[in-house]
């Protein structure tokens, strides 16, 4: 699905990179249609909410007010105007928990995605640039990772190492590396054959210089696209794990763990699960839409 085989994007050589990057965002904005602009603005709002969530939250997310338990969101019968989105079974404010949960969910997915980008990127570069036996071993590992659905590797790791936050972040970091490794390797292989790389080699440039100045700028677009596309699946992985009770431990709120806890009150107080569910769905829909659009806008073709 994220098997990206990009035709080489517009090639640019060292030197022109900086100017391009400065105008990159503005150019993307100009390319976006009205609907996509709304998505982008909404996504910016989500990110701002996640960053400033703790400052905006009206209550401590873990403060229990037993007198205000199970209050529905404002607008429903027996709601309390003090709790906009209602409270859960322990009287914790759902708005505050959702804001904190959003921050935590996005943060875990963000750190995880950088770990997998770093890991997969390096292995992909090695596999593509060095080739030979090392490359073959790396690609065999990629095959193994594809053969085993990642949720199972995650379960295995959690069973072995216990479920703590660092374990969860590392697991999520390992989740996406093989996609990066494959795409980076394929890109490095095709860029390395380009005449300008040959020219740089002939001019006596070091491997590092060729890699960073000539190869990497040319494979940036597909990497950005894979990053957006895997980001939503990392959010999903974290939420699923937390939902099952194998991720972040209570009382810490993430969107997934909130849905998981609300599950037990579905019949009597469904909003406990519905509020974080909607937030979760909204975020993953936005990220996917933007990823899809970015793939077209940056001219990376997905197979």
């Amino acid at each position: 699905m994220t098997d990206l085989a990009a035709p080489l994007p517009r090639l640019h050589t060292a030197g022109t990179t900086r100017r391009r990057r400065a105008t990159g965002l503005a150019r993307l904005w100009r390319k976006a249609g009205p609907l996509m602009r709304i998505c982008l603005v909404l996504f910016a709002i989500v990110v701002l909410l996640a960053i400033f969530g703790p400052a905006l939250a009206p209550y401590d997310p873990n403060a229990q007010t037993l007198l205000a338990r199970l209050k529905p969101p404002v607008g429903f019968a027996k709601s309390s105007s003090a709790h906009l989105l209602g409270t859960d079974q322990l009287g914790r404010d759902l708005l505050s928990r959702t804001l904190y949960g959003l921050q935590f969910t996005l943060l875990i997915a963000l750190i995880g995605s950088f770990i997998s980008l770093f890991l997969g990127g390096i292995l992909g570069i090695v596999a593509g640039y060095a080739r030979g036996r090392v490359g073959a071993i790396i690609m065999a590992l990629v095959d193994v990772q594809i053969a085993v659905p990642f949720t199972l590797i995650a379960l295995l790791a959690i069973a072995m190492l216990g479920n703590s936050l660092p374990v969860l972040v590392c697991v999520i970091g390992i989740a996406g590396w093989e996609t990066y490794a494959r795409i980076v390797r394929a890109q490095v292989l095709s860029v390395a054959r380009m005449p300008f790389v040959e020219a740089a080699t002939a001019a006596g440039a070091s491997h590092g210089r060729i890699l960073f100045k000539h190869v990497l700028p040319n494979i940036a677009s597909p990497i950005i696209v894979v990053w957006t596309m895997t980001f939503s699946s990392l959010i999903l992985l974290e939420s699923s794990m937390s939902f099952l009770g194998l991720g972040v431990q209570p009382p810490t709120a993430t969107l997934g763990s909130m849905v998981g806890l609300g599950r037990d009150y579905l019949a009597s107080s469904p909003w406990i699960a519905i509020v974080p569910s909607l937030a979760n769905m909204f975020v993953s829909l936005l990220v996917l839409l933007i990823g899809d659009w970015l793939r077209d806008a940056l001219d990376v073709k997905a197979k």
Binding site: V144, A147, L152, A159, L266, S277
Partner: protein
């Protein structure tokens, strides 16, 4: 063809072997599983007896050769919790999961392919865009969110379906729908795109020019060519479905392999867990071989390229 098949199977076996080695050593990395299982302050002699009962006092290499021998003989040891053969537990659980998979697969193919074709043929009007947008939402909705929405609507409000368990075929309907949703969405998207690619081709114009009916043009000439990417996405989605069944079975309390694996993770029952991972890897690898074969069957170019 035989050569292609042989090489494909060899690759699959190699991958599976790598998975077995990886799983075995991964489960032993964290040290002695018995340290978590037994109560603290247990009598050392009793502990030693239990440890040797499970063969955990042997060297890693001996444990590994025993493990592989066991796998080959279908003897996978005892569950640390249930004290029953792992094989027996999986034999009880597997039918439910396979049933769930077949429902979900049938549902998503039976609905996804026609919807994708309609979305491609009607791409310029409301029907087409409605199908495409729905497919996107279906893909983006986390499966536990969909599961909870369905339980709320169809179990608690409408009382149509039971919310959990696996007693009757009716119990499987909601989990199957949740399991199928992302796959259905992907099949719709891929069928639509594949059809759009094919619709512009010259051979369709030729088929129309020689007077074939529109049904025959779409049903025979367009479908066969559009089927190739669709088969790919079905193959890819089977792996995703296996991963999702873990959550879906846990939500709907379906006594299947996914639920078992989650329980084994929580309880650190590693004989159960390690076989679960190997079993599921075997399932996914087999699927991908089958997909490649179907591939070769519908696209003659694959065979030519392989030889």
């Amino acid at each position: 063809m035989l050569d292609f098949l042989g090489r494909r199977i060899l690759g699959a076996v190699a991958t599976l072997l790598a998975v077995i080695v990886l799983v075995f050593f991964a489960t032993r990395l964290s040290g002695n599983a018995m340290d978590y299982m037994l109560p603290p302050g247990i009598d050392p002699a009793t502990k030693a007896a239990i440890v040797s009962q499970f063969g955990l006092d042997q060297s890693l290499w001996v444990q590994f050769t025993r493990f592989v021998q066991g796998l080959l003989h279908g003897d996978l040891g005892l569950s640390l919790y249930e004290r029953r053969p792992v094989m027996q537990i999986y034999a009880e659980r597997l039918p439910n999961t396979l049933l769930l998979f077949s429902y979900a697969l049938a549902l998503s193919v039976a609905l996804g392919v026609p919807l994708g074709i309609v979305a491609a043929l009607q791409r310029r009007n409301v029907i087409g865009s409605a199908i495409t947008s729905l497919a996107f939402v279906g893909y983006a909705t986390p499966n536990f969110v969909l599961a909870i929405a369905m339980i709320l609507i169809f179990s608690y409000n409408l009382h149509w379906f039971p919310s959990s368990g696996d007693a009757t075929p009716l119990h499987f309907l909601m989990p199957a729908i949740v399991l199928a949703a992302p796959m259905l969405a992907e099949i719709v998207r891929f069928t639509r795109n594949a059809m759009l690619d094919v619709l512009g081709q010259d051979y369709l114009r030729t088929a129309r020019a020689k007077g074939l009916s529109e049904t025959l043009v779409i049903g025979k000439h367009a479908m066969r060519n559009a089927a190739i990417p669709v088969v790919t996405v079905i193959g890819l989605q089977v792996a995703g479905m296996v991963a999702r069944c873990v959550v879906v079975e846990a939500v709907f309390a379906t006594k299947g392999v996914g639920d078992l694996v989650v329980m084994a993770t929580i309880g650190r029952d590693y004989p159960v867990l390690q076989f679960g991972v190997i079993l599921i890897a075997a399932l996914v690898v087999t699927t991908s071989v089958i997909v490649d074969l179907i591939y070769a069957a519908i696209d003659p170019r694959v065979k030519v390229a392989a030889t």
